[in-house]
């Protein structure tokens, strides 16, 4: 299979899957089988690109020109490869989990749910593989719109309100700021192709660079940089699998991925390194890291706490990008994968707890460890990975991030990373600790063993093991990403 065919397949499969799901809407079993089959095939198609990229190739595909000089084009580079792998791989796991969750919950409109999910993955893959900024922007918006029905899934007043916040922030930042930035870049540089070393060098300087970077950074609302972070907690009204895959992996990672891409291929590390145009962004990211961690500590709703944690973790990646150093970029890129596994595990656990016990508040979860030991152990693993404790994947990305900060002589941000790790411990670790070692508040006892449906447990165990595995395979990720900084 030629790389171009793989790209075509990777884009077409989710859409075909969506059609198949729609056709099979009256047969739930077949419908879910279609989802799984699509997921498997998609992962296969994406994975078949990996050898080419590892060998230093950049498979590409150009469709047609949207505007003169700006085609809809796809180029597979290391960062996109990593993101596509993570998104498509975790889709399979999430599908398994969804089956357990949605059925146990007897949710309505399941077909709409699965269709929207497939289209969202289409958007995420498109973002990952896009070869120029406009293509990326198109898929970015596809992702925004296709996740709206998922967030408003329950149709209650609360869900509608959350979905409205979600959509209005994401659309207004992207249409209001990001599109402006893209158009401006086009006017300045005359191209929007992602090019090694950037396209702005020598064409823009001084305050324009800073303003442009600000438009990109804040315009990418999905990166949840403060003050445009409120959509993420609002999106937690969605069913948990949605929160898990989309709001811990696909959507938010698409955001930080965009920031990384912009910094590497639009601005270029050298340009930012020499002009220092991105220094302010470090402060914004650092501020977001600390403040959202503090907010997370005050949340009693588990999903909301995880959401604020996500905001904080996303800013790690933005920080890595803003440092504009080799290690920073690699750390940021790696964190896409590491945080994805860790956070999806945590969300899966939150969903499993909800399905099994209908509990959403952390204060109600004392003593739960005895009833749901597997879930709680997985939660612990996920939490440790997010904190960055060896031998778990998260430790590597934090290591490289810290290295990047040192490389850029930004000692302050090494401190920020330290402090935030402490904060992570403070808001994540008490949950499993209390689950195992405290008795329920009202004195009642949990049944000896009452896990969530099998589908859920399988999925969350798998991702927890992934966190461990990533620690040992981090070297491969490193080798994949290293060409990024080399230029």
């Amino acid at each position: 299979m030629s790389p171009a065919t793989s790209i075509q397949l990777a884009l077409a499969l989710p859409l075909l899957g969506a059609v198949a799901i729609a056709v099979l809407r009256r047969r739930p079993d077949l419908r879910e089988a279609a989802t799984m089959a699509t997921g498997g095939a998609l992962f296969g198609a994406v994975a078949s690109l990996l050898p080419h990229v590892m060998a230093g190739g950049r498979p590409s595909l150009s469709l047609f020109e949207l505007f003169p000089g700006i085609p809809i084009a796809f180029v597979v580079e290391p960062l996109g490869m990593l993101f596509a792998l993570v998104a498509s791989g975790l889709w399979i796991v999430t599908s398994i989990y969804s089956i357990g969750y949605m059925r146990a919950h007897e949710e309505e409109n399941q077909t709409r749910y699965y269709i929207s999910f497939a289209v969202s993955i289409f958007g995420a893959i498109g973002v990952a593989l896009s070869g120029n900024m406009l293509t990326l922007f198109l898929f970015y918006e596809v992702l925004t719109l296709s996740t709206y029905p998922l967030v408003s899934h329950h149709g209650t007043e609360k869900a509608m309100k959350g979905a409205r916040t979600y959509l209005s922030i994401l659309l207004s930042t992207s249409v209001g700021l990001l599109l402006l930035a893209v158009a401006w870049t086009w006017v300045i540089a005359g191209t929007l192709d992602f090019t090694d070393g950037g396209i702005l060098a020598g064409k823009a300087e001084g305050p324009i660079l800073v303003i442009l970077l600000a438009l990109y950074a804040f315009g990418t609302g999905k990166a949840a940089l403060m003050p445009f972070h409120r959509w993420l907690p609002a999106a937690m009204v969605a069913p948990t699998p949605v929160s898990a895959l989309l709001h811990a992996v696909a959507v938010v990672k698409a955001g930080v991925f965009t920031v990384l891409k912009v910094i590497i291929y639009i601005f270029g590390l050298d340009l930012l390194g020499t002009t220092g145009a991105s220094v302010w962004l470090m402060y914004v990211a650092g501020f977001t890291i600390i403040v959202s961690s503090l907010i997370a500590m005050q949340q009693d709703n588990l999903k909301r706490r995880l959401a604020y944690s996500t905001i904080s973790q996303l800013s790690y990646i933005v920080l890595g990008a803003a440092l504009a150093t080799t290690a920073g970029i690699i750390g940021g890129g790696m964190h896409i994968a590491m945080h994805a596994f860790g956070k999806i595990t945590l969300f899966f656990c939150a969903g499993a707890i909800y399905v099994a016990t209908h509990k959403t508040e952390i204060s109600d979860m004392r003593g739960l460890g005895r009833a749901m030991p597997i879930t709680m152990i997985a939660f612990l693993i996920g939490a440790l990975s997010v904190i960055g404790v060896p031998p778990l994947g998260g430790s590597w990305s934090k290591w490289y991030l810290a290295l990047g900060a040192l490389e850029a002589d930004q000692l302050l941000f090494v401190a920020v990373l330290m402090v935030s790790s402490l904060l992570n411990i403070a808001y994540l670790i008490p949950i499993p600790i209390r689950a195992f070692f405290s008795a329920p508040a009202d004195g009642s006892a949990y049944p000896a063993f009452k896990e969530a449906p099998m589908f859920c447990v399988v999925a969350l165990s798998f991702t927890a093991m992934g966190c461990v595995a990533l620690f040992f395979y981090a070297d491969d990720v490193y080798r994949l990403l290293v060409p990024l900084a080399g230029g």
Binding site: F64, E65, L66, F67, P68, I72, F137, L138, E141, V142, L145, S152, G155, M160, R164, L167, S168, L171, S172, V175, G176, L177, L179, L180, A183, W184, W186, V187
Partner: protein
């Protein structure tokens, strides 16, 4: 026959109109009128093709040579507008039969078709003629027939609405007539091309300025440029759905065409923009129109009226592009003229479907309608996204060129304002989508069923086209760009 294409474009609908009166039998007339519209569309496709391969096509009426006789002159812009108008005309009339029998007494259908075809004749005539006075005549043909069409609306409010439109339209047309008269006084010709060359020799005297002023105000009235738009919301709200869809997609667009033709084809960029400073008038008006009309749209409960206000805002976008007076800006204006016609036509047709089933287009009655009429409302939603300018829709293409145009001139605030105004569109579109899809069905909506295929298919054709031209832009933006460049060069 190929050399007669330009005139056939006009006389096919013109002859079909009286034939409709003679045929009289409802089905016969409808079938015949639809056929005539599609033939007209075919002709304009052929004409565009001819223009693309051979350049400007000319036709001398009655064999009288220009500039003495009336000349039909089809350049790229004309051909583009002709294609748009005849295409929309054909699709909307195909959509019409079912909707009409619900909103207009059956005994009047043959008259409706006849008047509709006359209106089409007028609109096409404006786009094709190279004679300034002829523009006025065709303008009045289309205007008079549109007053009649609007007055056919089922509710009595349609009558004052049509009357108001008539008064405003006549004032506008008379202003245009004064402008034409003064231009004739100054140059002694009515042929636009000839006028442009002679005007250059006259070296802009005061008469020219006055003529320019009258003409611009007249056209602004006709195309509902803010704040001269007051006739539009009522007219669009109370006209029969079919008429609204047709007029919204064509009438104001053709007026924009007149503005383009007059400003660039007759006066030339230099005179209009550098000496008269047209930008200082058009720019603030269009921006104010965009913001004010979009905001007003948010507060409308009648969705047809909401879309009407949105039209006023969208006219603002087109004029904004024109006011840049650069290739990119003009491209934005022209391509938006095209894209918005598709989008708004589709949206109003979807509203026609809703009207058919619900007998109301009030937002309260439309709650939950998305579950009962999924295909209709899906079309509406896609069209709505186009209004916002979401990527993959045609609306995005227009917005892209507009922003680019503003940035090329370094007009920061304009670009920002354009983008912010999309958010206003987001609010008014999303209000409807949310009500239609995520609320419990209202009492009326409970009994509603999906619209008939005869209406759904044409609606989706337009909506589909708006997606198609959001991706394949070489035929829309590409032609718009060529036309824009030709306009900036002035008449050959």
């Amino acid at each position: 026959m190929i050399e007669h294409l330009p005139v056939l474009q006009i006389i096919v609908p013109m002859i079909a109109a009286p034939l409709c009166v003679l045929l009289r039998r409802r089905l016969l007339v409808l079938g015949f009128a639809i056929l005539a519209c599609w033939i007209t569309f075919g002709l304009s496709v052929a004409l565009l093709d001819q223009v693309l391969t051979n350049g400007v096509v000319r036709y001398e009426m009655g064999g009288w040579a220009a500039p003495w006789g009336i000349e039909y002159r089809v350049d790229l812009l004309s051909a583009f507008v002709l294609l748009l108008v005849s295409g929309i005309g054909a699709i909307v009339l195909t959509f019409a039969p079912r909707s009409l029998s619900d909103e207009v007494p059956v005994s009047r259908h043959y008259l409706f078709c006849s008047v509709y075809l006359l209106c089409l004749t007028g609109l096409l005539g404006i786009a094709i003629t190279g004679d300034l006075f002829n523009v006025f005549v065709f303008l009045e043909i289309s205007a008079l027939s549109s007053y009649a069409l609007i007055a056919m609306g089922g509710r009595r409010q349609a009558l004052p609405a049509a009357f108001q439109y008539l008064v405003m339209g006549t004032i506008g047309a008379t202003f245009i007539l004064i402008g034409i008269g003064l231009m004739y006084m100054m140059t002694g010709t009515l042929n636009m091309e000839d006028m442009a060359t002679r005007l250059a020799a006259v070296d802009g005297v005061r008469t020219g300025l006055v003529a320019f002023g009258f003409f611009t105000v007249g056209v602004a009235l006709k195309m509902a440029l803010f704040p001269l738009h007051v006739w539009l919301p009522n007219a669009y709200t109370y006209a029969p759905s079919v008429v609204t869809a047709f007029l919204a997609a064509t009438a104001t667009k053709v007026s924009v065409y007149i503005l383009l033709r007059f400003v660039f084809g007759v006066f030339g960029v230099e005179f209009a923009f550098e000496r008269l400073g047209l930008t200082t008038i058009l720019l603030p008006l269009s921006l104010a129109g965009i913001v004010v009309a979009s905001t007003v749209a948010i507060y409308q409960r009648n969705i047809k009226r909401m879309l009407a206000y949105s039209s006023v805002a969208q006219i603002g976008y087109m004029v904004l592009g024109i006011s840049f007076a650069t290739a990119t800006g003009l491209t934005a204006g022209i391509v938006h003229l095209f894209n918005h016609a598709l989008i708004k036509g589709g949206l109003f047709m979807a509203m026609g479907c809703v009207m058919l089933r619900l007998k109301s287009v009030d937002i309260d009655d439309m709650a939950g309608i998305g579950r009962k009429m999924p295909f209709t409302m899906a079309a509406w939603a896609v069209g709505g996204l186009g209004l916002i300018g979401v990527p993959v829709t045609a609306g995005f293409i227009s917005k892209w060129y507009l922003i680019r145009g503003a940035l090329e001139l370094n007009w920061w605030p304009v670009a920002v304002l354009v983008l912010l105004s999309s958010l206003l569109a987001l609010v008014y579109v999303w209000r409807v989508i949310e009500t239609a899809f995520f609320k419990e069905p209202s009492e009326r909506a409970q009994t509603a069923t999906e619209a008939p295929l005869s209406m759904l298919i044409p609606t989706w054709v337009l909506i589909g086209a708006s997606i198609f031209f959001g991706l394949m832009t070489s035929r829309s933006a590409g032609i718009a760009q060529q036309a824009a460049e030709a306009l900036l060069r002035g008449s050959p």
